[in-house]
C-alpha cells in the first residue's frame, strides 16, 4: 500500500481561481483554492449546490481553464494529463449516446483507446456486472430508468484502467442498497488497484465512509473551508458507519458544511 507522498502528487492546485463571464456579469466559481491530492488518496468533495465542486473537477480534467493560479496533474498541465489519458470521468448527468446500446456505450472509451475486440467484450461484461446491469446489454439508454442510466455511465468510466478517477456525484440517483453495494465495490477497487479518486458527493456518510480526506467547500465564490483527514483504517466494513469515530468525523463535516451555508 502506498501512503500519500509529496513527490508523487497527483493533483496540485495553488491559488486556483475561475471566473465565468456570462451575459449578465461574471460569476466567480472558484477562488484561491490550494489543494494537494497524493497518489492513492481517496478525496471527497462536499459542499452546497453551486459551490464549484463540478467546476474544480472540470479544471482537473482540462474541460475548463482556470483564470488564476496554477494546477498540475501528475506533474503535468491538465491538458497534457488529459492527452496521456490519465483519468476517467463520471459526469453528473449520465450522458449516454442514444444511438448506442448500453454495452456499446460502455465499450466507447475502450474502442477509442484501442483495446482489442475480445478485451472490450470481457471488460464490458465485467463492469456491467459490477454495476448490476447484466441483462441490459442490448437495451438503448432511453429504455432504462434514471438510476440504471447513471450506473451505465459509471461502468463506462470504470471500464478502462485510469489511475485517477474523477467522479461527480456518481451515486446520486441510486437507492441505498445499491449505493452501499457500489460503495463497497469502489472501496475494494481502490484498495486493490491503488487508484487515486476524487469524488463529489452530497452525502456526508458516504463521504466519510469512502474517503481518506474530505474537502468541504463553501459557495460564491467557491472556496475550500475545511479539509478533514479521516483516521479510519483502509479496511472498512459497512458497519464501521455506526462506530463513534465515524460519527465524530461525520459531525465535523456537518459542522463545516453548516458554517459554509451560514456565510450565504
Amino acid at each position: 500500500m502506498v501512503t500519500p507522498n509529496p513527490t508523487s502528487n497527483v493533483v496540485e492546485a495553488r491559488g486556483l481561481g475561475l471566473t465565468f463571464e456570462t451575459n449578465d456579469g461574471s460569476v466567480r466559481a472558484l477562488s484561491n483554492v490550494d489543494l494537494t491530492v497524493g497518489k492513492g488518496e481517496f478525496v471527497s468533495f462536499i459542499g452546497p449546490s453551486g459551490c464549484g465542486k463540478t467546476t474544480f473537477l472540470r479544471v482537473i480534467a482540462d474541460l475548463e481553464q482556470q483564470t488564476e493560479g496554477d494546477i498540475r496533474v501528475n506533474g503535468m498541465t491538465p491538458a497534457e494529463a488529459r492527452r496521456s489519458r490519465a483519468y476517467g470521468y463520471v459526469f453528473q448527468a449520465a450522458g449516454l449516446f442514444p444511438w448506442r446500446t448500453i454495452e456499446d456505450n460502455v465499450a466507447l472509451p475502450l474502442e477509442i483507446m484501442g483495446y482489442s475486440r475480445a478485451e472490450q467484450r470481457e471488460r464490458v461484461h465485467r463492469t456491467l456486472d459490477l454495476v448490476n446491469l447484466a441483462g441490459f446489454e442490448k437495451k438503448f439508454p432511453w429504455q432504462l430508468s434514471g438510476g440504471m442510466q447513471q450506473r451505465a455511465s459509471i461502468a463506462r468510466a470504470l471500464a478502462f484502467d485510469a489511475d485517477l478517477l474523477l467522479m461527480d456525484e456518481p451515486f446520486g440517483a441510486l437507492d441505498e442498497i445499491v449505493r452501499d453495494h457500489l460503495n463497497e465495490q469502489l472501496l475494494d477497487l481502490w484498495a486493490r488497484t491503488q487508484k487515486t479518486i476524487c469524488f463529489v458527493t452530497h452525502s456526508i456518510p458516504e463521504a466519510v465512509y469512502l474517503s481518506t480526506r474530505i474537502v468541504v467547500m463553501s459557495p460564491r465564490p467557491g472556496r475550500v473551508t475545511d479539509v478533514i483527514e479521516s483516521p479510519l483504517p483502509r479496511e472498512r466494513p459497512l458497519d464501521i458507519r455506526e462506530t463513534p469515530e465515524f460519527l465524530e468525523i461525520a459531525h465535523r463535516v456537518r459542522e463545516g458544511l453548516r458554517a459554509g451555508h451560514s456565510d450565504e
Binding site: 463571464e21 451575459n23 456579469g25 461574471s26 432511453w142
Partner: protein
C-alpha cells in the same frame, strides 16, 4: 464593468488580427480560386485559339497563347478580369434605372425572390404544423408534397404562367409563385423534423400541465424547431432565387438576371452570362448571410452557449 476588468492584451499585429477574422482566410481562398480560374481559362480557351492561329496561319508562342486566351470575345470560359470589367461596366458604369444596369436586373429578380421566399416559408411552416398535428395530413399530404417536388418546374412553369394569366394574375406574383413552389419544400421537411425534435420528457412536462395544442406549439415545439427553421431558410432562399430566375424565362424573359442569362446565351455573350451568374450568386450569398445574422441574433437571445 467587464471592460474595466479585462486589461487589453498587447495590441496584436495587423496580420494576426486579419488571420483571426474572416478577411484573410477568405482572401487566401479567393486568391487560390482565382489562380485556378485563370488556369482553366487558358486551358479551356486554348483549343479555339490554336485553331484561330492556324486558320490565320500566324506563328505563335506560349506567351501569345496565354495573353490571347484571356482576351477572347466569346470565350468558352471568360477570364476573371473580363467578368470583373463587365460587372463594373454594368453596375457602377451604368445608371441604375437603365435597362443595361445589372443592379436593375438584380432588383427585378430579388423582388420576386423575396416575395416567393416569404410565401414559401410561411406556407412551408403552415404545412409542417398541419402535418405534425393532424395524422390524416401527415399520412396523406407528405407523400404528395414530395411528389410535387419531383415535377420539373421548368416544364410546368409556362403552364403556371399561362393559367395564372388566364385568371388575371400577371407581373410579379406568377414569378414569385414559382419561387414559392421550390422554396416551401426544404422548409416543410426541416420544420416537420424540427417540430418533432422536442425530447420525450419535455413533451411529458407539457402534458402534465395539460397544455393546449397551441401552448405546446408556441412554448415547446416552435423554440425547439428554430435551429431547423434557419437552416431550412438558408437552403430555401437560395432555391427561391433559382425559382425566380426560372420564372423569368416563360414570362418572356424581359428583365431580371434570368433574362440576362438567357439573352447572353442566345447571343453567345459568355462574359455577360458569367457576370449575371455572379450577380445571382452574390445575391444569394447576401440573402443567406442575412439569414445567418438573423440566426445568430435569435440564437443568442435564446441563450445558446456560445
Amino acid at each position: 464593468m467587464s471592460l474595466a476588468l479585462t486589461t487589453a492584451p498587447a495590441a496584436p499585429s495587423l496580420l494576426h488580427r486579419l488571420a483571426a477574422g474572416k478577411t484573410l482566410p477568405v482572401l487566401i481562398v479567393l486568391a487560390a480560386l482565382l489562380a485556378l480560374w485563370y488556369a482553366f481559362t487558358v486551358y479551356l480557351n486554348a483549343p479555339w485559339q490554336v485553331d484561330a492561329y492556324e486558320r490565320a496561319g500566324t506563328t505563335w508562342t506560349t506567351a501569345d497563347l496565354v495573353r490571347d486566351t484571356m482576351a477572347q470575345e466569346r470565350p468558352v470560359m471568360p477570364a476573371p478580369h473580363q467578368v470583373a470589367a463587365e460587372i463594373w461596366k454594368t453596375t457602377a458604369g451604368t445608371r441604375i434605372t437603365s435597362k443595361r444596369s445589372l443592379f436593375h436586373h438584380a432588383w427585378v429578380t430579388l423582388s420576386s425572390t423575396l416575395l416567393g421566399f416569404l410565401i414559401g416559408t410561411v406556407l412551408g411552416v403552415l404545412l409542417a404544423v398541419g402535418i405534425v398535428h393532424n395524422r390524416a395530413m401527415d399520412k396523406s399530404v407528405m407523400p404528395w408534397v414530395i411528389a410535387s417536388q419531383t415535377i420539373p418546374i421548368l416544364a410546368i412553369a409556362p403552364m403556371i404562367i399561362v393559367v395564372l394569366n388566364a385568371i388575371g394574375l400577371s407581373g410579379l406574383l406568377p414569378k414569385a409563385l414559382i419561387s414559392t413552389y421550390l422554396s416551401f419544400f426544404p422548409v416543410v421537411v426541416g420544420m416537420v423534423k424540427g417540430f418533432r425534435s422536442p425530447e420525450v420528457n419535455q413533451l411529458d412536462l407539457m402534458r402534465t400541465y395539460n397544455a393546449s395544442g397551441p401552448q405546446t406549439f408556441w412554448k415547446l415545439r416552435w423554440p425547439s424547431a428554430l435551429p431547423y427553421l434557419f437552416t431550412s431558410m438558408k437552403v430555401a432562399v437560395a432555391i427561391s432565387l433559382v425559382g425566380a430566375i426560372v420564372g423569368e424565362l416563360p414570362t418572356g424573359a424581359v428583365a431580371g438576371l434570368g433574362a440576362r442569362l438567357l439573352a447572353g446565351s442566345y447571343y453567345g455573350q459568355t462574359v455577360q452570362i458569367w457576370s449575371a451568374l455572379f450577380m445571382a450568386a452574390a445575391l444569394a450569398a447576401l440573402l443567406v448571410g442575412v439569414i445567418g445574422i438573423g440566426q445568430r441574433l435569435v440564437m443568442a437571445r435564446m441563450g445558446e452557449k456560445p
